[in-house]
Amino acid sequence: MSIEVSGVNKKYGDFVALENIDLTLPTGQLTALLGPSGGGKTTLLRIIAGLEEADSGRVVIEGTDATRLPVQKRNVGFVFQHYAAFKHMSVARNVAFGLEIRKTPKAEVRRRVGELLELVHLSQFADRLPSQLSGGQRQRMALARALAVEPSVLLLDEPFGALDAKVRKELRDWLRRLHDEVHVTTVFVTHDQEEAMEVADEIVVVNQGRVEQVGTPDQLYDEPANDFVMGFLGEVTRLGPVRLRPHDIEVAVTPGSAGALEGTVTRLLRVGFEVRLTVQPDASPTAGGNGGGPEPVSVVLSRAHARSLDLELGSRVWLTPAVGAATVPAMVAV
């Protein structure tokens, strides 16, 4: 096991940033710490790195107790959201920094820097200053700089958060490929569930200072441990007594299966290949309304399917959960 965090607590004044975190991350994996802003995921990452000190608890990296080790002795690579490029040094000197600190022989430094710049596709920019690079290039330089010291773990704090959508997407794919090449244990923080699901082997959902669930992207999506995880990983709607994903609802235009929820299409929106429906269920005792009638249900289906059902505004529909749909019981409204 590469990183073991046990019983970690952290408070900022009265604010509880992390509460009794236990977490084990295996060697060689790409793990995402996913959660809303202010949920404590960055604090957890910084505690693993040693940039922040936990109030209590232990951090073990590659079998060494790192709890009391300062950041420069932990041999971690850290990549910051805003790159933290050394502005007064060329790209090559940035990457060489960790090696020079370790008194690596000059020829060796030159060779390693050449390799790393090759790896992050920045060879032709070796002599530029960071300010002459684009955001994506700067972040790749920061990655090469962190990898130069051959860290036992690579930690990335919202690495693509400051980049525009297209570059984000490219770098995401690139990070995945890089990890498949380099195989260093990697943990990255993100608040973007799509990013986490696309890149990570394993996702740790962190919310309000606690770990909500740990699992592969599929596990989290298909078997969310609770309402929060379900809601954070994708859209959720409520169908009678359960909550489920809008695309996990079967739509029928004739009353067929028992227990189907009957309603009227009140909104129909086509976005690209999919059709989003808003269905207002008929008031009934089983729908569990709280005075103002039952809440509307969102449904997503493919365009072809919607056309085959001949749906339009005002159509009568019967809704049932799809077979094998991930559902959680709906919280009872008080």
Binding site: G50, P70, V71, Q72, K73, G77, A84, F97, G98
Partner: protein
């Protein structure tokens, strides 16, 4: 931008410009130019006279030594205090920050008197102890250096603090995560990123230190050839109707300061160009 351009050629702009230029010429340019012309009234004779008088050479040397030492002290102290003020939270931080500005607002002559009260050899608070240990502060070079350092204290700090705030701590954290110790981080990351601010601060401090008069007058004792600095010599010569000599030294002092300011503006231009690259 369009807004600026539209107003550029209006008559009000010209009037304002004229007023500013006139003000600067009348207050600074013309008087300083006159110092120059007076110094060279009889060719280079007056200047040569200064350099041939051993007492005057001693005065110039003392001024240079005091200014350089005071600048060195203020640079080290200034960078350290700036780091303390920007990177640490502690009770009394605002008080400290206000105290640092004090030397700019207190009259230098008050500074001199205060130093005599503490370090005066005969009845100072701390002076007799030092005196018995063989260290003379007041009426000696250490006192002159102290007075000079006191009045020029805030200049480095006020240049460095905003730059330190702006560069933030991320680069330092990155350096630490790459294995650099605190000392290595300071030399390789922090200092290079505040380099220009330190340079401006040093040049300003040096210029200010060379010209210090009031505080030095009180603490130096003004002994010819020993504790008389260049500024004190200017006063002395002026009062003794040796106007040409006074103007000659004044010209030397002024040209060093002008040179310092020129260097600063050139450095600023270079720094700005590097920043925008």
């Amino acid at each position: 931008m369009a807004e600026v351009r539209r107003h550029r050629n209006g008559p009000v702009t010209y009037a304002l410009r004229l007023a500013v230029v006139a003000y600067l010429v009348l207050l600074i340019g013309w008087p300083l130019a006159l110092v120059g012309t007076h110094a060279f009234e009889n060719g280079t004779e007056a200047i040569r006279g200064i350099f041939e008088d051993p007492d005057m050479v001693a005065a110039l040397r003392l001024t240079a030594v005091a200014a350089v030492v005071a600048t060195a002290i203020n640079t080290v102290f200034g960078v350290a205090v700036s780091l303390l003020l920007v990177r640490n939270e502690f009770p009394g931080k605002r008080v400290l920050s206000a105290l640092i500005d004090l030397p700019l607002s207190v009259s230098p002559i008050v500074v001199g008197l205060a130093l005599v009260l503490v370090y005066g050899g005969r009845d100072g608070w701390f002076g007799p102890t030092l005196e018995s240990a063989g260290i003379e502060v007041i009426f000696s070079t250490p006192g002159i250096v102290m007075a000079t350092a006191f009045v020029a204290l805030p200049l480095v700090i006020r240049e460095v603090v905003p730059v330190l705030k702006e560069v933030g701590t991320e680069q330092e954290q990155a350096a630490r995560s790459l294995g650099a110790s605190g000392w290595q981080t300071f030399w390789r990351i922090t200092l290079p990123s505040i380099k220009w601010a330190v340079v401006y601060g040093v040049v300003l401090t040096l210029a200010r230190s060379l010209g210090e008069f009031g505080a030095v007058k009180v603490v130096s004792g003004n002994v010819l050839g020993e504790t008389r600095t260049a500024t004190l010599a200017v006063e002395e010569k002026y009062l003794n109707f040796d106007q040409e000599g006074a103007y000659a030294i004044a010209f030397l002092l002024a040209s060093v300061s002008v040179l310092a300011i020129l260097i600063v503006s050139v450095l600023r231009a270079i720094g700005a160009r590097q920043a925008t690259r």
